[in-house]
Symmetry: C2
DNA sequence: TATTGTTATACTCTATAACTATA
DNA sequence: TATAGTTATAGAGTATAACAATA
């Protein structure tokens, strides 16, 4: 079988474990989100709304990188679950302010620490405090490099 | 704004940079895959088939974690693009052997080094050879921990 | 004219259940 | 009976284009 002569390439040495680690972690988190009856896209919107006083569809579109027409359905489903509300914006009657309800806030408050509590042991049994600091530093460097053109 | 008292949690210190690094890398890769007219799920299947002499639907189902009924459609679309072929298995007439065509092999061959060539500088300017080895080791440990129950 | 959000439409992913052909 | 794959069905995500209301 053909190879690409990339064995001495640092790129692949890091990329593959990074992808696999991400996927292993994500699988756990994903199951948790779905067990609450949410999809990842719906949870993304809740996370974006968290800590704000509401966002418009255009603002959500920018932060989630979704088309605004795609958001309509996602917001519909969150609204039908009672987790967000649409409010009129007095200043601009074209806009809607999308805001977490009390139930939405409660769900996030319940979900987030539960997720952390569940995931923490997987991290702690694998990494020392020193490992954590090193890993964080290297990942931030890599992230920033990939973000910059 | 409320906080969760998780500042001293190694979990978040690593998780956030890991997710952000993954997303920064994959924004580039995802665009590349879609520019070839493929979806991530389709490319996953191609990547699983690469280097094999063909796999059955059940084997693909296991490696991609998709329901076998979901794979039917994905394989259909790859087949209609001429990238994979279904072959009968003489030993067991219930099974299908799904295999990359020449075009599928060519696509992977074209895509993969192009991706590597594009991504490599982002890695190399951020990490020394020593960094690469450390990062790889820590990510593998984390991955394995998250995979194990 | 330009912008905000929705509708209309279409495609893909994904799952479960029922079915068929085989083993 | 059990297994491999497909079909049927359904829900969700995603995009583009067209539209109504408003700016």
């Amino acid at each position: 079988m053909e190879t690409y002569n990339l064995q001495d390439d640092s790129y692949l040495k890091v990329l593959r474990p990074l992808v696999e680690a991400y996927q292993a972690i994500f699988e756990v988190g994903d199951r948790h989100i779905r067990s609450m009856g949410l999809t990842p896209a719906q949870f993304d919107v809740i996370a974006e709304l968290w800590g704000t006083d509401g966002l418009t569809a255009v603002e959500l579109s920018q932060s989630t990188l979704l088309a605004k027409a795609s958001l309509t359905g996602i917001i519909d489903r969150l609204e039908s679950k009672g987790l967000v509300e649409r409010h009129a914006v007095p200043r601009d009657r074209r806009s809607m302010n999308v805001k977490l309800t009390k139930a939405g806030i409660a769900l996030h408050r319940k979900c987030f620490p539960a997720q952390a509590k569940m995931m923490r042991p997987y991290f702690e049994r694998a990494l020392s405090q020193h490992d954590v600091n090193v890993l964080q530093k290297l990942l931030v460097r890599l992230r920033d490099s990939c973000r910059k053109r």
